[in-house]
Symmetry: C2
Subunit: 165 residues, 2 copies
């Protein structure tokens, strides 16, 4: 598997996977009816950067990386990940996460924050925890899950560089 950065013009490589993920209504706040143009803007508009994982010439996953806040909060990164349904449970999300942590550190970010981890998405919570993230917040009922109704949202965080001593 190879992970490489893409340009906004290459977003069509990500689009089928993005669509499949939002269609589930169980991971992202982006609604199932999100258009190609909106998705491309979310995933690739600077300062957001996008990357794809390729295996045997096919794109099997993608992540986007961006500052979580403007200005005085832009030292903390945020990222989002999608994996093709047919490629799940093969370590792709973990590889994307590890790549994003390295890319974020190289770009000068000192930490990474996820704002909307769906609390019922146990495999994601387990994966991010195993990648070094801690749950630093929990917002009651902040996500309308397609099957479960309102469920809690977790805020997860990890440092990318050692604290200054």
């Amino acid at each position: 598997m190879r992970i490489r950065e893409i340009t906004p013009g290459e977003f069509s490589l990500v689009w089928p996977i993005f669509q499949a993920v939002v269609a589930g209504g169980d991971v992202f706040a982006y609604p199932p009816e999100t258009t190609f143009d909106d998705a491309r803007r979310i995933w690739t508009s600077p300062p957001t950067r996008a990357f794809v994982a390729e295996r045997d010439g096919a794109v099997v996953g993608s992540y986007m990386l961006r500052p979580n806040q403007p200005g005085l909060g832009d030292h903390v990164a945020n990222a989002g990940y999608v994996v093709a349904p047919e490629a799940r449970n093969r370590g792709i999300a973990r590889a994307l996460c590890e790549h994003s942590l390295k890319t974020a550190a190289e770009a000068g970010f000192v930490a990474m924050q996820f704002n909307l981890v769906v609390a019922t998405n146990e495999s994601a919570v387990h994966l991010w925890t195993s990648c070094g993230f801690a749950t630093v917040g929990r917002v009651p009922g902040a996500f309308r899950h397609a099957r479960l109704g309102p469920v809690d949202v977790l805020i997860m965080y990890r440092r990318l560089v050692p604290a200054a001593g």
Copy 2:
């Protein structure tokens, strides 16, 4: 004091106050060099709505109200508040907050979430707590305070309507 909704074209009423607040580098992530156009977009671009508090014909404060997330998270509101430096400690922030809670509930939001309450801003934390907000998260060092350096950010939350059941 009267609080009323404004159009994007009226943002110039808010601009001096917005500028004064971001100049401090101690409340908002928006950097001190934020331009008029960027500030107007942040404060007034739909679906964001903006309101001003007027006293004796002068604008003394403002708030913006918007969905905190797109799509499946858009039942939770987010808001931001600014008060003119010369009008502080007169209950204006509280009046703006109470007005925003009422407006948000009328607009159909079921809760309100603040993503970036600077933990060292004790008067704000105290005010939001007294307005019914609970601290549901804390992100270490996520705000670069102009005088104090990296300080923690609180996530605060309150419901706007009683829980079903």
